[in-house]
Structures are given as C-alpha cells and as structure tokens.
C-alpha cells in the first residue's frame, strides 16, 4: 500500500487490536500475513531481516518447521502503546518439532518482547526479541548453567 499523507489515523486500541490478532491468528494456525503491509519489515533472531511481504512470508515459513505447537499467553501480556508503536511483552508455551516442550517461566525459553510499528491498519515493522533456543538445548555455553542453580 503506498504511503500517502492522508493515512488513516488509528486509535491506540486499534493498533493494539492488530497486534492481538497477530498472536491469536498465529496460535489458531490461521492466515495472518494480511495483517502486514506489503513493504513490512520483520526481524527474528538468527534470521536475516525480511523486507517486504514475500520475505516476511518466507521468514515465517522458515520458522514453522521448528514448532509443533505454540501458544501466546495473551491474557497476561504487557502492552505498551505510544504513537505508532505497540510493544507486547509476555510468555509462550508449546512444543518443538523434536518433541521438546517449553513453557515460559518454567524453563528458560518462552519469554519474548515484540515491537510493532502499526500504521494505516497494517503492521509496518515487527521486531521479535527473544532467545530462539526455546528448548533450552544450548546451555553448555553459559558458565552459570553448569552450576546448581540451573
């Protein structure tokens, strides 16, 4: 969608609503790419940033093989909304393709923070900040995890 100077002004709750839809549609296994602008930018750890809807589609297609299921615990997210930014902070649980389950707050994986820029009804930018090692498999690298508290 081309950017114009008369973009639809969105209310904060409308921006939040787009972010909530993203989580709910994803968890339901439903199509959610329509929430993104054609020129959207998406970042996920260890993946090259996706520029434009084709690369965004590819990024999520690259991620799915990691997961059997994922649930975003949306009722307990913190939403920080200011201007065109919606930050959503919270926890997930689910199962990886290899059968490892994770649950935020129980294991180490499963805490995340998403930064959305939402304008004109669409997600223009999404940065997903998290440790992508959901299953706590890469622990030997961290000296403190060799100790008792792990």
């Amino acid at each position: 969608m081309p950017t114009t100077t008369d973009d639809t002004v969105m209310a904060p709750e409308d921006r939040k609503s787009v972010a909530v839809s993203y989580f709910k549609l994803m968890d339901a296994g439903e199509e959610f790419l329509h929430l993104f602008d054609d020129h959207a930018y998406v970042y996920f750890p260890k993946h090259a940033p996706a520029r434009g809807i084709k690369q965004v589609e590819q990024l999520f297609a690259d991620l799915w093989p990691m997961f059997s299921s994922i649930v975003h615990d949306n009722a307990y997210f913190n939403y920080i909304v200011a201007d065109d930014f919606v930050v959503a902070e919270g926890m997930t649980y689910g199962e990886l393709a290899d059968g490892t389950s994770w649950r935020g707050g129980v294991g180490l994986g499963g805490r995340f923070c998403n930064v959305f820029e939402i304008r004109d009804g669409k997600i223009q930018r999404l940065h997903i900040y998290l440790d992508p090692d959901y299953g706590d498999k890469d622990t030997a690298r961290y000296p403190w995890l060799g100790e008792e508290r792990a």
Partner: protein
C-alpha cells in the same frame, strides 16, 4: 516501599535507562540505579529478584562478554506510564574474543523493558538472543539449509 512515590517525567525515566546503558558500556557501577527489590530478566539466566541476585546475574554475564557498546544515538524509546521500552543495537566482543555487531552478525539486536518509579529501576527485562558469538547455528533449519 513508600506509598507516596515521587512523580517522574518521561525524560527522567529515559535518563535513567540511558545512564544504565552508558555505565554498562564504560564498565562502571550502575547498581545504585536499581531499587533494592528490583527484578531483572536476562535470557538463559531467568529472573533475578532483589539487588543481590541482580549483582550475581550481571557478574555472570560479564564473564561471557569482554566489551560491549550500545548504539545510543539510534535507540527507539517507547514510554507509557512507568514503563520505558528501549530498542537498539550493540557491538562487542565475547570472552573468547569473538566479535559481534548488529547487522553484520546475527547477534546485537536487543530490547529492554524498564519499569522506573521513584527514581529507581524497579524492573528490567532484557530481551535478546544471548548467543553473541553466533555459535549455536545448527539447530535452526534455515541456517542449516544455508550452510549445506
């Protein structure tokens, strides 16, 4: 905890968040910026409750990172109520000498969520991929495909 908090402006919260990051980069003490009962989250550490556990967490993190520079000039700040979200990039060197730089390596993009009240950081959750050296690659199907 006093029930009568000193009101703070957004720019005061921003100043505290930025001060924390600048002291971190300079290797200076920053624990006075935290409330005694603050809560910290760092990936692969989990939660640290109270200043003593927070000190232990940062000491452990310092053992895996030799040097870090946060790119202050290009941060995004999002303020709402007592929460400040700071999103940015970093560059640095791990203890084993591996360099990282956002945009060059995978590592180096981070997002900090601060709750700042009464002049102190009450909560700091640090969201990032802690694999600064890009050493854990084989686990990710798209990277394995690119490498083969």
């Amino acid at each position: 905890v006093s029930l009568t908090l000193t009101p703070m402006a957004d720019e005061q919260r921003k100043a505290i968040a930025l001060e924390y990051l600048k002291r971190l980069d300079r290797g200076e003490d920053f624990f006075e910026l935290f409330d005694d009962n603050a809560q910290l989250y760092f990936p692969k550490w989990g939660l640290a409750n109270g200043i003593e556990e927070i000190k232990a967490a940062f000491a452990a993190i310092a053992d895996i990172i030799s040097a870090v520079t946060h790119d202050y000039a290009y941060f995004n700040y999002t303020h709402a109520g007592d929460t400040v979200v700071v999103e940015g990039t970093s560059a640095g060197r791990t203890a084993d000498g591996t360099q990282w730089r956002a945009g060059v390596s995978h590592a180096g993009r981070w997002c900090d969520v601060f709750e700042i009240r009464d002049g102190r950081i009450q909560r700091l959750f640090i969201y990032l991929d802690p694999d600064y050296a890009d050493a854990d690659i084989a686990r990710y199907p798209w990277l394995a495909a690119a490498a083969s």
